[in-house]
């Protein structure tokens, strides 16, 4: 055992010495630092950090993209739902639309009556129901406050309309008179350029207001830019009695004699229109306690024109009607009928309007519109009828267009009457009108 250790000891010593030398050598090599190697290590460490950050950023970006894509899909779905909802009315076979107009204002007169007043004007809602683009029901109501403070309601029109072809529509029900331009097209407060109607074109004038019956109407293109328009109407017709001649739509015909009328229009170019109108009917005198009752022939004709180009609006109308003599009640309260003499009504007007936007873009000025209108209304024949007419009327106004259908109007009107004892008067008229 000792011998073995003795033999091995030198070898062990040698090995250990060699290891010590080797260790010493390696220690000797590691000892001096290598700057380039450290720099490379630092560089690699920085690059590794950057790569980690980029990887982290990319992962975060991918997460955001996924989130955005999810949100986008949700938004698109909502958009489709909103779009579908928004077009629900458009797709529906039956559509409803509420339109109309309203007006309020004031009137001041120099006739000494001391009745200068604010006027409630009117509220005219218009209801439209449409089925499949070829059936349209339309109805206009008029609410007004009377001088006594009572609310008056009237059904201006209520008709079913069928668009049979591109050039033919059939109208059935109560409709505004197609005679001339004013009653059917110009009377809404936001369209009428002055606060009132021309003399003879309002209630009690020569202009028929409405009728109940059927119309065939439409327009056919002619020439290069022209248009031919037509309205043929058959209705219950007017009535006559103690309240005078009533040119309004009645729900029944008191003499089974229908009125026939209409209007033909021609537009050689879109901004120039000529029209002629005609109406014929037979009215039956109102009965009294005693005396005969007979029919009277009623005939009306008229002509109109309109030039509407750019800021200019120039138009005019003429209406003439005659009622032959007949036997009937002359005045409410009479006991017997009388021979009512033949009577002739005549009314006309010319109206010129110019919007200052035609020559200036200046603030305020460009929204102004100047309007002038002159007209006359004459009745010749039966005295009771004459009391309501015979007037020369000149009106000058200035309008401010807040919007195309929102208008503030101010006008001065001069009225000269033929009626004995009635003083001529000047009136200041103001009106605020809104079409919606």
């Amino acid at each position: 055992m000792d011998k073995q250790l003795a033999i091995r000891s030198p070898a062990i010593i040698m090995v250990m010495t060699a290891l010590a030398v080797l260790l010493g050598a390696s220690t000797a090599y590691a000892a001096p630092p290598d700057p380039s190697l450290e720099e490379r290590i630092e560089t690699l460490e920085r690059e590794l950090l950057i790569l980690k950050q980029e990887l982290q950023g990319a992962q975060q970006a991918e997460g955001r993209v996924e989130k955005l894509e999810t949100e986008l899909a949700g938004t698109q779905q909502k958009l489709a739902e909103v779009d579908k909802e928004a077009r629900a009315e458009e797709r529906a076979a039956t559509k409803f639309h509420l339109a109309g107009y309203a007006a309020a204002g004031f009137e001041a007169s120099d006739n000494g009556a001391g009745e200068d007043s604010f006027t409630a004007g009117s509220f005219n809602p218009i209801f439209h129901f449409q089925y499949n683009d070829n059936i349209l029901f339309e109805s206009e109501l008029e609410f007004e406050v009377s001088e006594d403070g009572e609310t008056e309601t009237e059904l201006e029109y209520s008709s079913l309309n069928w668009f049979a072809t591109d050039y033919l529509a059939v109208k059935l029900g109560k409709w505004l008179s197609p005679i001339g331009q004013f009653q059917e097209r110009m009377h809404p407060a936001w369209i009428n350029k002055l606060p009132n109607a021309p003399a003879g074109f309002g209630h009690g004038g020569v202009q028929p207001a409405s009728d109940v019956g059927v119309q065939l109407r439409g327009g056919v293109p002619v020439l290069q830019q022209g248009l031919f328009t037509y309205v043929v109407a058959v209705g219950n017709g007017p009535r006559v009695g103690g309240h005078g001649l009533e040119l309004e739509g009645f729900g029944s015909d008191d003499n089974s004699n229908k009125s026939v009328g209409g209007r033909l229009g021609f537009l050689p170019v879109p901004f120039l229109e000529f029209g002629v109108s005609y109406l014929t009917a037979e009215v039956t005198g109102e009965e009294a306690d005693m005396g005969p009752v007979t029919d009277g022939d009623y005939d009306l004709w008229g002509a109109d024109f309109a030039f509407t180009r750019g800021p200019w609006d120039f138009r005019g109308e003429y209406l003439n009607s005659e009622l032959d003599s007949f036997f009937g009640l002359a005045e409410v309260g009479d006991m017997t009928t009388n021979l009512i003499p033949a009577t002739e009504w005549e009314a006309w007007y010319l109206q010129l309007a110019y919007q200052l936007s035609g020559f200036t873009n200046a603030w305020f000025l460009q929204n102004l519109e100047l309007v002038g209108r002159y007209g006359e209304f004459d009745i010749d024949g039966f005295n009771e009828f004459e009391e309501h007419g015979n007037e020369e009327r000149f009106t000058a106004g200035i309008n401010y267009l807040i919007a195309p259908s929102v208008i503030a109007k101010l006008a001065w009107e001069s009225r000269e009457f033929d009626e004995p004892g009635r003083k001529d008067e000047g009136r200041l008229l103001g009106q605020f009108a809104f079409g919606f």
């Binding site: 950023g57 993209v65 986008l72 779009d83 009315e89 328009t229 309205v231």
Partner: protein, 92 residues
């Protein structure tokens, strides 16, 4: 911002832009000729009676009805009314 982020952002924006540019279901592409006819008819015929109203005063379905109402009063041919509707609705 890194290139990858920029590319991602651009791609997302492009997707969004494409999505909004896609016509809604049921929309027919507007016919330029009808638009032109409608604009001319709107200018010509609406002003015959009243101040011309802007397309954005009413919604599309309301123009469908309102123009038919005007077709009656103005005695317009059906095609002219359709042209006006198309113009008003495309300009709305």
């Amino acid at each position: 911002m890194k290139t990858k982020d920029i590319l991602l952002t651009v791609s997302v924006l492009a997707t969004l832009a494409t999505a909004t540019a896609v016509p809604a279901q049921g929309d027919a592409p507007p016919d330029p000729a009808q638009m032109a006819r409608g604009a001319q008819a709107w200018s010509d015929h609406c002003g015959r009676c009243h101040n011309v109203r802007a397309p954005d005063e009413k919604q599309d379905y309301e123009w469908d009805i309102s123009v038919n109402h005007m077709r009656l009063i103005g005695n317009l041919p059906g095609q002219t009314a359709e042209d006006i509707k198309a113009f008003l609705k495309s300009s709305n």
